[in-house]
């Protein structure tokens, strides 16, 4: 008996390169492709799906999730995770509704300040105490929810948003598209520039790809980590504020599982859950895909909305397994 392993021939290597390209394409553009298919199915099968109104609804419903996923993408690319965003989202909403009585500036500033500070504390603990991000932000989830309950009389008080500029911003629209959607689009554009075209963005990729290498290459690990958690906190707070403006009140019971939706969207969008790679374009596709599926389920009316979670969970499993497969191929390719 011999242990002859097939020596790698050039042919085999070319073949593995081909498979690798295919897998890479699936990972990068998978969400977009599936989104396209789902859209076509929706347009053909459901009359109500075909309206401009519905498109607007999809966009505005996706807005908070998109903002949270934007911050989450940064966090996950560094190799971390932020489980506190669901709670911060609710906290942001409550704070915004409460602060709206002091004007539109306060309605934005208060949630941003508090949630940003919360992110800062989490970032500091992760960077300096070197505790696992998931446990720190899981505690953060609990802490932020406690804070929210404390501010809302144990969840019994619902602050109504004062009529005024803040509410108008949340509910008004331009060319049939709600204002917050424009803000989301703008922030994604800014996020892309930050991620792809700044040194900070490069450090985000570098520490997620290999923290040790990044350290040796002179990347400031702690500063980068702290910044992504602050960013994630800020965006979660903003998402909450926008939602409060849209609904006209700071609802205290929403937001459970929001962090999971955001993580799902990011991972489905092709960002490596282990860090080091990912795109914001993919995240948008992921967010929209989940939202469109939800919308179609609502249109259909015969299946429970829980199918959306089942699909997104299955999708996550599929994507992460595909990613490991890709990573293995890469290791083979580089010998």
């Amino acid at each position: 008996m011999t242990l002859v392993a097939e020596p790698r021939t050039e042919k085999a290597e070319a073949a593995s390169l081909r498979t690798e390209r295919v897998v890479e394409l699936v990972q990068r553009q998978g969400a977009l492709a599936v989104l396209g298919i789902v859209l076509v199915v929706g347009l053909v099968a459901y009359d109500n799906f075909r309206s401009l109104d519905n498109a607007g609804t999809i966009l505005i419903s996706a807005a908070p999730a998109a903002l949270i996923a934007l911050g989450m993408t940064f966090v996950i690319i560094t190799g971390g995770i932020d489980l506190s965003v669901g709670s911060l989202y609710v906290l942001g909403g409550v704070l915004a509704a409460w602060a709206s009585q002091y004007g539109v500036a306060a309605a934005f500033a208060v949630p941003l300040a508090v949630c940003g500070l919360f992110g800062l504390v989490q970032g500091l603990v992760i960077a300096y105490a070197r505790l696992a991000p998931f446990i720190v932000t899981l505690a953060g989830l609990l802490g932020a929810r406690g804070l929210m309950l404390a501010l809302s009389g144990e969840g019994r008080t619902t602050y109504l948003v004062d009529p005024g500029a803040f509410k108008d911003f949340g509910q008004g629209s331009l060319l049939g598209v709600k204002y917050p959607v424009y803000l989301v689009v703008f922030l994604f554009a800014a996020g892309m520039v930050t991620l792809y075209r700044t040194r900070f963005g490069q450090s985000v990729y570098a520490i997620g790809g290999s923290e040790d290498a990044a350290r040796l290459m002179g990347v400031r690990i702690r500063a980068t980590q702290i910044r992504v958690y602050v960013l994630s906190g800020l965006l979660a707070g903003l998402a909450g504020a926008l939602n409060a403006a849209r609904l006209g009140s700071g609802v205290t019971v929403l937001g459970t599982g929001m962090e999971l939706d955001a993580i799902a969207a990011v991972v489905i969008g092709g960002t490596l859950l282990t860090g080091g790679a990912g795109t914001l374009g993919g995240t948008i596709a992921g967010v929209l895909l989940l939202q469109v599926i939800q919308n179609l389920i609502n249109q259909d009316g015969t299946v429970t909305s829980a199918w959306q979670t089942v699909i997104s969970g299955a999708f996550i499993a599929l994507v992460v397994v595909a990613q490991t497969y890709l990573a293995k191929l890469r290791r083979v390719a580089s010998g």
């Binding site: 505690a139 609990l142 404390a150 997104s312």
Partner: protein, 322 residues
């Protein structure tokens, strides 16, 4: 910290403290909390109150036992809450065939989820947090789909008896948790599997070279954790008398991880403290109860819990040069 050790260098003291605190801290804290309650909380020692505390802590204890095993292998299982919901959702569907078949099916549901989690960790090589995240999302979805998103009342008497009846004055559910804790303790201490589990958690490469079937051990651990979670779900349903897949087990992964970590099991693997885990669950339960009994609000209790989790993880963290 009054250090009576005049003749000892101070470094030794803090080192000893560092080692002892994560292990015995939970018992000391629990004892102090009990004493505080005896002194200040009305009717604390009343059997009725004690029974309520016991019954409420039961699901967390059961889930935390499985979590302790997973953490012992240097893993984590985020899907336990969803598995509880899944177990709960299966009960009303199959209760028509009798109590035992329904419970068995809930357990089978747990086994399936555990196999998926374990395979993703052992064969695909995913990080445990990543592998179980998919099930955290999908598991509750499946539970909601099975229950059609509806809240279901349960009227089957013999099933509800599990949650309501008692033996020697102690509710069945508490007996179940106690037996499970004893079994898990025995498994960890006295079985080949238990020893291998610890070796895998302490040094996977060494365990592999010592001929330990690492993959089999990992899969078994995730299956056990999921089965325990499913059992916790069943117990919860029998106690409340209804199955609400959207609420059962929500955030229990957090309580379970807290109980394990507060109980002195490090997240870095290689150790499982079963008794400590049970004590950790009691501590957190009692802490919330104490705060509420003394007119502190639920919100404050949650924030305090958050801080305790961080402190526990921080003190239990092993100084490893990585």
């Amino acid at each position: 910290m009054t250090a009576p050790a005049v003749f000892k260098p101070r470094g030794v003291d803090t080192a000893t403290l560092r080692r002892l605190l994560p292990v015995y801290g939970v018992y000391v804290a629990l004892a102090l909390l009990v004493l505080f309650n005896i002194a200040w909380t009305d009717n604390f020692l009343a059997w009725n109150n004690l029974r309520i505390q016991l019954v409420q802590v039961t699901p967390v204890v059961i889930v935390a036992l499985g979590m302790a095993l997973v953490i012992g292998t240097e893993g984590i299982d985020l899907s336990v809450g969803s598995v509880m919901a899944l177990g709960a959702a299966l009960i009303p569907l199959y209760l028509g065939y009798g109590t035992v078949p329904a419970i068995l099916l809930a357990v089978v549901g747990g086994i399936v989820v555990g196999l998926v989690n374990g395979s993703l960790v052992a064969f695909v090589g995913l990080q445990p947090i990543v592998a179980t995240l998919a099930m955290l999302v999908a598991g509750r979805g499946v539970a909601l789909v099975l229950s059609d998103g509806k809240y279901k009342d349960i009227r089957a008497k013999d099933f509800l008896a599990i949650g309501t009846d008692a033996f020697l004055g102690v509710p069945y559910t508490v007996w179940i948790a106690a037996v499970l804790a004893a079994v898990v303790g025995f498994v960890v201490r006295r079985t080949v599997f238990g020893r291998r589990l610890l070796a895998v958690g302490d040094n996977r490469a060494a365990a592999q070279l010592a001929g330990v079937p690492v993959k089999r051990v990992l899969i078994t651990v995730y299956v056990i954790a999921a089965v325990l979670a499913a059992v916790a779900g069943v117990i919860q349903v029998s106690r409340i008398g209804s199955a609400d897949a959207s609420r059962i087990g929500l955030l229990i992964e957090l309580s379970a991880i807290t109980a394990v970590v507060v109980g002195g099991t490090p997240l870095t693997g290689g150790k499982v403290r079963v008794l400590g885990t049970v004590a950790g669950a009691f501590l957190m339960q009692l802490l919330t109860a104490t705060m509420i009994a003394n007119n502190l609000k639920d919100s404050t209790a949650q924030m305090v819990q958050a801080v305790i989790i961080l402190v526990a993880v921080y003190t239990a963290r092993e100084r490893r040069t990585r």
